[in-house]
């Protein structure tokens, strides 16, 4: 599903340049649930940005579902993000004046769907994350875990090929973290490819594969025995 070859990325910092990614080779098959781990400065966020088409690589290639992603202008990048990727953020990033349902429907708005259609699909995904009864509530009326579930429903709404989650449990307590990870596992089991960036080992252990980044290179890439969450 994702194929990355010799990926390099540097940032110009005044006169010096900071080499953040130093040749990453990395493949993800469809249906995988991969944790990308690393301390801050390891390059994991940069990698996620490039995967999310929020940033361009300097060297190397990136194929998403056999499609070469390169030299994207803003317009095409926005279109691809909308079609192929779903984002889950640490701080949820829901739009505070929109109800849960409207938040979930937003990616569909940018696909040009009619309002009725959008709401039907959005309600369906809200139901999937167990928040059908909360559809008219504003984010401020939801708990942290509920907000993240709305965000997951939103990421799913456009039916993307890959979900990218940036520290999805970073702002949650351990119980709600379990809930959210359980939901991610459930979605993964239904066949969705998911990448989770995290620095917490127990969260990573809930994935099927762990990729460890250090100083811009992959130091470890192993399949793990997934810690499956039950009874939440």
């Amino acid at each position: 599903m994702i194929k990355i070859d010799k990926l390099h990325k540097s940032y110009e910092m005044g006169s010096s340049s900071l080499h953040v990614l130093k040749g990453i080779d990395f493949n993800v098959e469809a249906g995988e649930l991969v944790a990308i781990m690393g301390s801050s400065g390891s390059g994991k966020s940069t990698l996620l940005n490039i995967l999310g088409m929020l940033d361009n690589a300097d060297e190397g290639t990136y194929d998403l579902d056999k499609m070469r992603i390169e030299n994207l202008d803003e317009k095409t990048a926005a279109e691809y993000r909308n079609k192929f990727l779903g984002f889950i953020f640490q701080s949820f990033n829901l739009i505070n004046y929109k109800s849960a349902l409207e938040n979930v429907a937003l990616p569909l708005y940018y696909q040009g769907l009619k309002r009725k259609e959008r709401q039907k699909i959005a309600l369906n995904y809200l139901d999937k994350v167990g928040l059908k009864n909360w559809s008219t509530h504003l984010p401020s009326e939801l708990s942290g875990g509920q907000k993240q579930r709305v965000a997951i429903a939103r990421a799913l709404a456009s039916n993307p090929k890959v979900l990218l989650a940036d520290e999805p449990t970073g702002a949650l307590d351990s119980t709600t973290s379990m809930e959210v990870m359980a939901l991610i596992q459930k979605i993964n089991n239904e066949g969705k490819t998911i990448l989770v960036v995290t620095h917490e080992h127990d969260i990573a252990m809930m994935c099927k594969r762990i990729v460890n980044l250090k100083d811009g290179v992959i130091v470890e890439d192993k399949k793990v025995k997934q810690n499956i969450i039950k009874n939440v």
């Binding site: 317009k75 926005a78 279109e79 993000r81 004046y97 409207e102 708005y109 309002r115």
Partner: protein
């Protein structure tokens, strides 16, 4: 361009962010409102000023006589020059294409009596043209007419204040008053918008006065009105032509400055209008100042709004909004709010000005009004600047990477 779905998005954003909407809307409304009111009041001040000078016919030239200061054509210096009836006939005959009205005037003082009471008012013996030149408005009866001039009738037209003082509540028309030793019939009462002073006159036919002066044909001064199409230069030329003509006729040195003098109302008016022009500049300055304050206000708010929405815009971009879509959304919203509130402010301002119209006369403000054109242009300027002020930060916001916008907490 018209996209129903985008409008729905925008309406939601407007409705759900009331403070923001009210803030930016009020700035624009207030800017336009204050602009219109200030501009209108300034305009009113100018109106009062020009009214003061414009009620009299302003195409009038007054001709006076004096004594010669230079010997000429065998005459000694210090000769007294006077106009007479032939001068009037000559001006009529020679300048008929450029002169509209001629009004010979003889000013004099005499004892005015009615029923044993004595009064003191200015008396002028004039021709019917006087009504037009002075801007007298008849309240009652009739003005002096050509028949009166021809027949030298003993009639008098009196000002409103004269009528009030002499006749109190009585109807003056048809009554007789004594001027000097003769009795005159009151035929009309006039008012004059130029004020009390102008309403304290008694006018009688100049030929009547000449008859009393033992058949004299002398005239004190002559007022003429020229064809307004002549314009400023034409008027000056006419003045000089008449002066030259009369000097030649009366054997006066062409360079003698005081034998025949000319006063042009238009010249005075021009000086007065310079003051009005200065007022206009002040008014324009105040107006532009208010408008700039409004523009700065709306610009500030637009920058603030976009800043406040950076994160939301980042989310929208991550979810697939294209940069152009972001810019369109912000601009449509700002145009919508500024237009509605701008035109609301404009309408309120115009209504407020109209309701002030009658109450401000004692503060020297008449007809405080703004032409719809100016109000409209000012509103559009404010809207355009609101859009520009919104466009710059919107463009920047649309270009920052969503990931940066999202980190901005």
């Amino acid at each position: 361009m018209f996209n129903v779905e985008r409008w729905k998005e925008i309406f939601q954003s407007i409705k759900k962010n009331k403070l923001r909407t009210v803030l930016s809307g009020t700035t624009v409304s207030l800017g336009i409102l204050i602009f219109i009111i200030l501009f209108g009041l300034g305009e009113g001040l100018k109106n009062s000023y020009s009214d003061l000078f414009l009620r009299q016919a302003n195409n009038v030239v007054f001709l006076y006589t004096g004594k010669t200061t230079k010997p000429y054509g065998g005459f000694k210096t210090n000769r007294r020059i006077e106009f007479d009836n032939s001068d009037i006939a000559d001006i009529k005959a020679n300048f008929s294409d450029r002169v509209e009205y001629i009004n010979p005037t003889i000013r004099y003082g005499d004892n005015i009596k009615y029923k044993l009471e004595s009064y003191n008012f200015s008396i002028q013996a004039v021709s019917p043209s006087n009504q037009y030149i002075e801007g007298n408005v008849l309240m009652k009866g009739r003005y002096i007419n050509e028949k009166d001039i021809e027949n030298k009738t003993k009639v008098v037209v009196i000002g409103r204040l004269v009528a009030r003082d002499i006749f109190k509540t009585e109807d003056p028309i048809g009554k007789f008053i004594n001027i000097g030793s003769r009795s005159y019939k009151v035929i009309g009462v006039f008012q004059d918008l130029d004020g009390d002073n102008e309403e304290s006159y008694l006018f009688l036919p100049y030929t009547t006065r000449q008859q009393i002066l033992m058949g004299s044909d002398k005239v004190g001064s002559i007022a003429i009105t020229f064809n307004p199409n002549l314009g400023g230069k034409g008027a000056v030329k006419l003045e000089n032509d008449i002066k030259t003509f009369l000097k030649k006729k009366k054997s006066i040195d062409p360079t003698d400055p005081s034998a025949i003098r000319v006063r042009n109302v238009a010249d005075e008016l021009e000086r007065s209008m310079q003051f009005a022009g200065a007022l206009q500049i002040i008014v324009a300055f105040v107006g532009i100042g208010t408008l700039i304050a409004g523009i700065i206000g709306i610009s500030n708010i637009m920058v603030f709004i976009v800043k406040e929405r950076t994160k939301e815009l980042g989310v929208r971009k991550a979810l697939g909004a294209q940069p152009s879509e972001i810019i369109k959304m912000i601009l449509t919203e700002s145009i919508f709010i500024t237009s509605i509130s701008g035109f609301a402010g404009m309408i309120i301002g115009v209504i407020a000005l109209n309701s002030l119209e009658s109450g401000l006369q004692e503060y020297f403000i008449t007809r405080p009004q703004v032409s719809l054109n100016i109000a409209f242009i000012a509103t559009v300027i404010l809207i355009i600047f609101g859009v520009i002020a919104g466009y710059i930060p919107a463009k920047r916001a649309a270009q920052i990477k969503p990931i940066v916008a999202l980190r901005d907490e």
